[in-house]
Assembly symmetry: D4
């Protein structure tokens, strides 16, 4: 039921929009779709992420649960490409690439990045594509 | 670049998993993909939403900014279908359907729902599909 | 002529809906679409299977012919993935994976599973994709 | 997750293969894929239905539940086309076209045909495509 | 510009429709779409071939030029599959598989089959897919 | 089973290649793919037609049966577009647009054009798309 | 042969990159893909346009021929959407929307925009989609 | 957002249309779509390139920046195929195939061809497909 024509929409806080643009566009290679005084909108791996200016977002060590977002790639090569980009461009990593649930059907590779406003981004690739959901 | 084969991945807090399943599966018509003691995973309009058990999530009136998520539909009929479902099944509404940015290129219909853990879900449809990002 | 947008619809008997949900959703990894007092509906590998409550369905050793259902995979890797899941999760097998019609154009791998209401599920992969029909 | 490349596989009993071919190919317009002494295989609206010779299948008034199969069309025009064919070619009808669950989200048109071996075929079209599963 | 939704339409003579059905459906694995007194229609590798009854078609050694038809496969594995079927099922061959225009951009594998009414069927696979037209 | 990636291949006689190019490319709007001394190859509505130089092809009034070729359009608007082109550019018509098999499931619009070497081209559009084969 | 997966690549001169970004991203709604000291790269309606810094590009009244670029839309609604954006956002127009070649098969709507470095952008929509090439 | 149904449109100068046709159609294997007294239109790797007759285009050594065009292939095999064609058919090369930005995320293979009117054509393949824009 995933349609190529819709877009997932996620709004997240940004302490500083220039920093967000630097992280998402220049570092992570997302495309800048629109820029306003109070937010920027991104084509984030084909979906839409909006960074809303929220300068008062408290600075604290982020926790992975219960709140994070990202992409589950159907094709392992896309995970590899992203990992290569993360290493070459030195993107801040919250949790290094690792294998989770090894030996179960839910087995997958995962890595977690951290944006300048401490939002956590998880990227995954499952051995069994039926487990993507 | 939106690929039909990947899935956006979003993890959100749930105070009670049974309530979340009732809201997302029985009310909103999402498909239950997997169920564990500490989370359920959903096929949410073709993407993956994971409800992580977080019973201590504070109860407070939710604010729309900076954090919410949802779907931007390419086709207005999908917005209409969802609105019809929301009305027939009496899904809790945070913000009624309305037109935003009327007369600009960014003009779109939007409505915001509220899940039992006070996560806010925004659904949108743009007049100009190029503004979906 | 197989359209991505339609769904094959199959209704089968279920002696106990909770058992069916356990088998199809938790074991086999199908997605639960809808749940009612007298049936559950499933996203079964992209098609719809409905389990109708039929508690009086006679208990008897099932026979493979003439009645069974399943999926013919275009890509052998999907057969392998399913086999791996069946082994890891110990899904009840009626007929072990085997090669049928070896050396003919109709050559294919097949395995048959058994659900808690004794419905038989056949999964296949053909060497020659033109034989899928 | 419905892939254009896989095929749903359904095996059903046929008291007489020539009668089945007459019903499915000449009447209903399915394509005959393969013909053997003990079965014929059909491209049934893009999926595979196999009629297995089972001459001893008891003759009895069929019941719609719990066992039947068919197609849920995404596009109402496909339901209309099939209905037109059924009327022009006088295909045996078990249950006339009707609206079910009117006024609910599950509202759909349905009709049920009857093949010469008393298998029942249900064709549906939902107002809300998210209810197809 | 090749649309998945259209069909190439080719009408050819058949001295005997039963022979044609035997060749195209039982041997070559095409699907029988419709059968009439004076013609049969085939789903021929996704396009439509119609065999029109023309009992007086002169019997003579066919020539490859200027008139023949067939399929150019994008993927070499489809050529291999067909070749395997031709060998296993002993389909009449007019010209054995060979490489043409070796060392040029137009290099391709080709084989030519002969139907019971002496129509010639050419199947091809090009090294460079841009040469398929 | 119609794949967007393959191409139907049809070879036909041409008494004069320049005339064929004039007819197919300049008049009918097909794309010229390749040109050689003894043939031209065309992207004919997404499939491949090859005109082989055969200057001795006898001149005689063509008959529609048993041999002709063309396209069955899924969408009636494509039939209309072609008809408009035929009229504006004065493409030679063998049989004017007409409705065939009216009131049956096989009902379709058809027109037949004639190329300079007297090959006949039939274009069709069926009311019921399942009859395209 | 247009593949969704490739991208047309066009490099054009820009006298000032900030002006180009303002025109293409903020005004025209293209997505900024990458930004370097000497160029920016754009997702221009799904293809890639690169603005190379060329401050010495002579200022002169641009001519439409022989050099310009743009998009031919398959769907007239996309032309309409763009026109609406051009009007609302006051994008500089070189040639107002008009109908060209009226009454011929090549009939199409066209409009031409002008970027800050005097590159001309033509957008078109043809009555007959076969004329898009 | 790249749609299979639209076409990028590029107009370039041609000193001599016959030379352009020779280069693009006979050498490079593009398809000739339309031919007029003052221009030819091409299906250039799925997009539209129009060569406008401009006999007075000055003859000078072309420079790669800021103006050139071409295709970025998603699949490296398409780059290889084109390179093979360039070598076999001796297409004029402006810059030999080389690796650019090695060791960075933007790493890609590139080659530049030169048409008879001194337009430069760049073809690329990126290691990381996200850098295609």
């Amino acid at each position: 039921m995933r349609s190529q024509h819709n877009a997932f929409h996620l709004a997240i806080p940004a302490r500083d929009l220039a920093e967000s643009e630097e992280f998402y566009v220049i570092k992570l290679g997302c495309h800048l779709a629109r820029r306003y005084a109070d937010r920027i909108t991104l084509d984030f791996f084909g979906d839409q992420v909006v960074c809303h200016l929220a300068p008062d977002t408290p600075v604290q060590t982020p926790r992975l649960y219960p709140r994070h977002f990202g992409v589950t790639f159907r094709d392992g090569a896309d995970f590899d490409s992203l990992l290569r980009l993360v290493e070459i461009r030195d993107v801040p990593i919250f949790m290094k690439p690792q294998l989770r649930f090894e030996g179960t059907v839910e087995e997958h590779r995962t890595m977690v990045l951290q944006d300048p406003s401490d939002n956590l981004l998880e990227f995954k690739h499952y051995v069994d594509p039926r487990m993507m959901y």
